[in-house]
């Protein structure tokens, strides 16, 4: 049992090395099957581990070796499997397996198929390190590693310059966040003299609420999380990251990597509950992100971009839940979201595949008849993400909404608004792509075809899970059986003890209203969007507020104006005035005076080694002489 976590990371690493080293040698199908079977083995192991930790409430610690042992700094390379990481293991390997299988079909035509699979395995390897690590530094390896794999996969088609730019953008935005993470680590070490998560939690739990150091640390951690999870200041990379292959978007930029921020915060829940100010900031940023991204998503025309903004919005929703103190809610939604967002991306990939790499939804329409299977799967995903009962999204959103209403009515309404936005853009997407009359482009395209079984099968499995997975945590209204909450309870035990939870069970009327309100709204939205989008109106050029949304609130342009332009201006100023005129003349004078002195002194350097040696010996003699005298 102790060995299993090691095996868990060894297999993807082996897969990566094998595939990476034999790129040209291995046939494409073998590569896909090899990569998938690696993940399949991993899934089996993950299931075993999950069973183990869920059946008996203990954590499994695997010590590999002492990584850094310098002075008082002691960083073991150690893996911890507790209920939280076991859950993440299931998500990563489960969704990962589906996407690997899907990729066999999707990437069949690509010449760099083997490279793709080796990168995917590498990603899984780093992601597993991230979730398994027992301390922040090893976690940081995984954190950077997934960033690397993300970079490699976004820029997978590196021959196109735009893709490279997108990859670089993602990488750089992530680095900004990582800086926060690094600072947080330094602070953690100086304050707690350890980087092991459990030790820090134990030491931090003795501090009082609102400790300023903790606040700074948590803020820095949150900066890291915003980078990785695409929150407001640092979110624009995620839509651009859609330049990568669709399975990558599904795996990395929807289901797993972007949730690392949430995971980090959930892992450090003790620190966060002790700093309410940070939680409030998270709440604000999460809410803003959710709304802004949702609004942008409504007016996008690229199928993948819509899903990307949807992801950003959902992540904002998750942060909102975290900000409200509901880690369980966040984790639950993360769990369900992984399934249906992966499903949606894969389905979108299937659409793109069917239309020969067409991503503009204006050139789609009426696909429900041509690719019925994809349509059905897409509908399931849409319903799930919109939160219609009894699909998974409903249950998880309900949990968060409940917490929001518990917090305040305003908050509850805002949360409801977010889910409203979700259903608006999702149904718009559904209608425009599948139900609207066929566009000219589709009519002209005679090669519209349903995807192969290797793509449909994993999608179906994901769809199945999107439908049923919510039942593991049925709302209090219907049942007392809160499996998911009970499952994660030990993880957040300390934090709940420290700060009384908001996640008290709401009274029945409130619960009903929570349940019914979104339901009503969603139904009305469906009708509204059907009317609005299927009737072609929406596709005319937007104006006013809508154009603002369509242009993503000019976030990139604002960044350009606030940060890039001034920095260029300041740089120019320093370059021309400070450096070239002031500093240069100063330094030049040093140089010229050195030159002057050197002109005389250089005669000593005759090139005669004997002379040098003589001088050296006499210097030694002088030093010794002085030593005796003084």
């Amino acid at each position: 049992m102790q060995l299993l976590p090691i095996l868990l990371i060894v297999f993807p690493l082996l897969g990566f090395l094998l595939l990476g080293l034999t790129q040209k040698l291995m046939s494409k199908s073998t590569a896909g099957i090899l990569a998938s079977s690696v993940i399949f083995i991993n899934l089996v192991i993950a299931t075993v581990l999950f069973n183990f930790v869920s059946s008996n409430n203990e954590t499994l610690t695997t010590f590999l070796f002492n990584w850094i042992n310098v002075g008082s700094l002691n960083i073991p390379f150690e893996f911890v499997v507790d209920r939280l990481s076991a859950l993440m293991l299931l998500i990563i390997n489960g969704v990962g397996l589906m996407i690997h299988i899907y990729s066999i079909g999707y990437m069949k035509e690509d010449e760099a198929n083997n490279r793709f699979f080796s990168y995917l395995n590498l990603f899984v390897f780093f992601m597993l390190i991230l979730v398994l690590s027992s301390n922040y530094l090893v976690l940081f390896i995984g954190w950077e590693g997934v960033g690397l794999s993300s970079y490699l996969l976004i820029g997978f088609w590196f021959k196109d310059h735009a893709n490279n730019d997108a990859a670089k953008k993602a990488f750089i935005y992530n680095r900004i966040g990582d800086l926060g993470f690094l600072i947080a680590m330094f602070l953690l070490y100086t304050n707690f003299h350890s980087l092991t998560i459990s030790e820090i939690a134990a030491k931090a739990s003795t501090l009082e609420i609102g400790n300023p150091t903790l606040m700074v640390i948590t803020l820095c951690l949150f900066v890291g999380a915003t980078g990785k999870s695409a929150q407001i200041p640092l979110f624009t990379w995620l839509p651009d990251a859609m330049a990568g292959p669709t399975p990558v978007s599904a795996l990395i930029h929807a289901a797993t990597m972007v949730t690392a921020g949430i995971y980090l915060i959930a892992r450090s829940s003790v620190l966060f509950v002790l700093s309410p100010i940070t939680l409030n900031i998270i709440l604000i940023i999460g809410t803003t992100t959710a709304i802004v991204a949702g609004l942008i998503a409504i007016y996008q025309n690229d199928i993948k971009k819509i899903l990307a903004y949807s992801t950003v919005s959902q992540l904002g929703f998750l942060f909102m839940a975290v900000g409200l103190g509901s880690f369980t809610g966040a984790m639950f939604h993360l769990f369900t979201h992984a399934f249906f967002k992966a499903l949606l991306f894969l389905a979108a990939g299937s659409v793109i595949h069917a239309l020969n790499n067409e991503q503009d939804i204006r050139k789609m329409g009426g696909l429900s008849k041509k690719i019925p299977a994809t349509f059905a799967l897409f509908v399931i995903g849409t319903i799930a993400i919109s939160g219609l009962p009894p699909f998974a999204g409903f249950f998880s959103k309900e949990l968060i909404l409940g917490v929001a209403y518990e917090h305040s009515l305003t908050m509850g309404l805002v949360a409801t608004l977010v889910s409203l936005l979700t259903s608006i853009y999702m149904f718009r997407l559904l209608f425009v792509v599948f139900l609207k009359p066929e566009s000219d482009a589709v009519k002209a395209n005679h090669h519209v075809h349903e995807s192969p079984k290797t793509m449909l099968l994993p999608m179906s499995i994901l769809a199945f899970f999107s439908m049923v997975v919510g039942f593991i945590n049925i709302p209090a209204l219907f049942s007392e059986n809160h499996q998911f909450e009970n499952y994660l309870a030990p993880i957040f035990e300390i934090s709940h003890k420290l700060v009384p939870s908001h996640e008290t069970i709401p009274n029945v009327t409130e619960e009903w209203s929570i349940l019914l309100l979104p339901l009503l709204v969603i139904v009305s939205i469906i009708l509204f969007s059907y009317k609005r989008f299927v009737n072609e109106k929406a596709l005319q050029s937007a104006s006013g507020l809508t154009s603002l949304m369509a242009d993503k609130f000019y976030f990139d342009e604002i960044y350009d104006f606030i940060i890039v332009k001034p920095s260029i201006f300041i740089s120019n100023f320093f370059r021309t005035i400070v450096d070239q005129t002031i500093l240069n003349s100063f330094i030049d004078s040093i140089g010229s005076s050195t030159l002057l002195i050197g002109n005389y002194v250089r005669r000593l350097q005759s090139g005669n080694t004997g002379l040098y040696l003589l001088l050296m010996v006499f210097s030694i003699i002088t030093v010794l002489f002085l030593n005796i005298i003084l």
Partner: protein, 109 residues
Amino acid sequence: METTMSQFQTVPLQYYIIFCSALFSIGVVGVLSKRNALVIFMSVELMLNSANLLLTAFSAYRNDPAGQIFVFFIMVVAAAEVAIGLGLLVVVFRSTKTIDIQVLNKLKW
């Protein structure tokens, strides 16, 4: 110091100091008075060795193994240094046909 020495009735530590200093000085004289790079190199080795011996002597007299460990590492460094140094000498000889350090003043440029 004299009293401790008399307990052992063995070679006084000063002998080693004198001997090693003499050896070291011979090395220095060699470095200064020779023009053959190879012999200079050997003189450097001689100096290293005198230091080694003195380290060992101190280590043995003070019962502190660190000195001998140090000698071991000096030997390692010396071996590496000789491999590289002689390689350089051969290269220099190939290009200039001499290893006279008076001639090798090209370092100046």
